[in-house]
């Protein structure tokens, strides 16, 4: 070949240098994303060192939270967060899946877009507005429901305590409403990725609508579990609406009627009142653990959704290959 022209070589080296500069420059900004996540974990650990060293794991086993007396036990908060989120999940999962199935499998085409828009609207309403509505509309309604419950049922531990309205039930209901759009939109995407041949095969075998959709849901089970977990992650960290209706009372109780509190809730209501270093450190530690829990739940849900998408991609050629064989 011809010898490289000196001028051209120089130009291409310049090109490589600017390309490298571009890559490093934009890469620096991408690094910031990673740095932020690390920085959040680091800063929260640093600020909570005091309680981590002083109480250790006992912090999470102690039931008494009395800042005035200097007693800090976070068990009621982790209990409240998990209990309210799980209750919300129990209420919201069937509804979210029902919506996803209805929109992606059952409803006529002209209805799809409006329904998608409306469920997205449900996600767009700010948490504080749900909270305001919760205080003035939902809580009185829940109170009326609680007092109308027959005395026989009120004996059960699940319904014990005075019917005050604010408490676990209101929190779980409002959380369920807020979680539905998240789980249902992911579940819808997941269902969309189920190959049409799945359903056609089921129908060809004489399946009813329910049986065909059940087959599709079973095919998509990994992604569906991922969608539900994503909703769980949202519920764990939801702050304002829950804080406003749960009653802000640190107590471990099974009762749906009992005012309780959550990790996010105690941060919202007490953070600015923290007057001692120990108090502040205890609150930051609650934030740190909330951060870690949501990190784990979200990563797991994303892994599930990804693995669903990946298996989908790798299985497509197999499906496509079959008819070719038949025609040959």
């Amino acid at each position: 070949m011809t010898a490289p022209v000196p001028g051209r070589k120089k130009a291409s080296r310049g090109l490589v240098a600017t390309d490298l500069g571009f890559r490093l420059g934009t890469g620096l900004f991408a690094t910031m994303l990673v740095a932020l996540v690390v920085a959040i974990g680091f800063e929260l650990s640093r600020q909570s060192m005091l309680t981590i060293e002083k109480f250790g794991l006992n912090f999470w086993r102690t039931e008494v939270w009395d800042p005035v007396a200097g007693q800090f036990g976070a068990l009621p908060f982790i209990w409240g967060t998990l209990y309210s989120s799980i209750l919300a999940l129990i209420i919201s999962t069937p509804i979210a899946l029902g919506i996803a199935v209805f929109i992606s499998e059952l409803c006529p085409d002209w209805l799809k877009q409006p329904l998608v828009f409306l469920t997205e609207l449900l996600a767009a309403i700010p948490s504080i507005v749900y909270g305001l509505w919760g205080i003035f509309v939902l809580v009185p309604a829940v109170r009326a429901f609680e007092s109308s419950l027959p005395a026989v049922l009120r004996q059960l531990p699940l319904f014990s305590g005075p019917p005050v309205g604010v408490g676990m039930l209101s929190a779980a209901l409002i959380l369920a409403v807020m979680v539905v759009p998240f789980s249902s939109s992911v579940a819808r995407e997941v269902l969309k990725s189920v190959p049409g041949a799945q359903r056609e095969g089921a129908y060809a075998l004489g399946a009813t609508r329910f049986e065909a959709i059940r087959a599709a849901l079973f095919y998509a089970r990994t992604g569906i579990v991922g969608a539900v977990m994503l909703g769980f992650g949202r519920a764990l960290g939801e702050t304002m609406a829950v804080t406003m209706v749960i009653g802000s009372t640190p107590k471990v109780s099974l009762s749906l009627f009992a005012p309780q509190d959550t990790m996010a809730g105690v941060l919202a209501s007490q953070f600015t009142e923290a007057d001692t270093e120990l108090y502040l450190s205890a609150l930051v530690e609650i934030g740190l653990v909330l951060f870690i829990i949501t990190l784990i739940v979200n990563s797991m849900s994303r892994l599930l959704i990804w693995s669903m998408a990946r298996s989908e991609r790798s299985s497509t050629p197999v499906v496509a290959a079959e008819p070719v064989e038949v025609t040959a």
């Binding site: 991408a30 509804i95 941060l267 600015t272 934030g287 951060f291």
Partner: protein, 282 residues
């Protein structure tokens, strides 16, 4: 009952359940919107936008300072989130196959899932505690952190939609990678990127939790960045949990304004997406 009719019945029940669940989800939506509009409209007037908060008992108070405060913190947040978000999105789409792009993508999704209150605690630790001062800047920082992953991910997805031939054409003409991205790829994805920014704005304009102990609140009017400022959301919160009827009325009015802002942003974003899709179809 024969087996077939039982199966058919089960199927019909299932279809009915799915349709019912849509209705169940729409009931709270209708209820929330109905109450916010009907309660909010009663106390929404010119005074609400023009006046400062008044002491309890005096009527005619407004949220002028909080509206300016919300504009300030969301503006500050965008100022710092838009460049970081767009440029990291550019990296993730231009070097989509690389391992670091996958790491950055994972970090963005992780950041997106961090509860907003935790971001507030973080911003408190790095922007309030060292200066012993709540400030608009700290509030903007917290909101900015929440915007970054949304902007980054939409930018990435939209840049990947730009046909590869456009980028290759620019490169074939001798453009550098940076030139190809900034003169050809980014401009053609611009409406979509603006959509991403507007969507991020819609989400953070309604955020309360990260502002509670960063921007804090202020009964007075201020545009100083190093001072605590009132914001609509925090004001609605304080008023909602107060025992005063008049403040409750104003909280509803504030909620109505918030919903209006969020709706307008969402509709704008939708409109821009439509145009982008139209462009691609052409």
């Amino acid at each position: 009952m024969s087996r077939t009719s039982r199966r058919k019945l089960l199927s019909a029940v299932f279809v009915g359940f799915c349709a019912l669940s849509v209705l169940i989800a729409l009931v709270p939506l209708a209820f929330v919107l109905f109450f916010v509009v009907s309660e909010g409209i009663q106390s929404l007037n010119v005074d609400f936008f023009r006046n400062m908060p008044k002491p309890v008992g005096e009527s005619g108070g407004g949220m002028a300072n909080a509206i300016v405060g919300t504009l300030m913190v969301t503006g500050l947040g965008s100022l710092f989130a838009v460049p970081i978000g767009i440029l990291s999105g550019v990296y993730m789409s231009e070097y989509a196959g690389t391992r670091f792009a996958a790491v950055a993508r994972f970090a963005a999704d992780t950041l997106n899932g961090v509860p907003s209150i935790v971001i507030g605690v973080f911003a408190y630790g790095i922007a309030v505690l060292p200066f012993k001062q709540f400030s608009a800047l700290a509030g903007g920082l917290a909101l900015g952190i929440m915007m970054i992953p949304i902007i980054a991910r939409t930018t990435e997805e939209l840049l990947l939609l730009v046909p590869g031939t456009m980028r290759e054409g620019a490169l074939a003409l001798g453009a550098t990678r940076a030139r190809a991205v900034f003169s050809v790829v980014l401009p053609s994805a611009l409406p979509g990127i603006i959509t991403g920014v507007v969507l991020a704005l819609a989400r953070i304009a309604g955020e309360t939790a990260p502002l509670l102990f960063t921007a804090f609140s202020n009964r007075f009017f201020t545009t100083k960045l190093n001072q605590p400022v009132a914001t609509l959301t925090v004001m609605v919160y304080t008023y909602a949990i107060s025992p005063y009827k008049d403040w409750h009325r104003q909280a509803w009015a504030g909620a109505l304004v918030l919903i209006f802002i969020v709706l307008v942003c969402s509709l704008l974003a939708r409109f821009a997406t439509r145009r982008l899709e139209g462009m691609q179809a052409r």
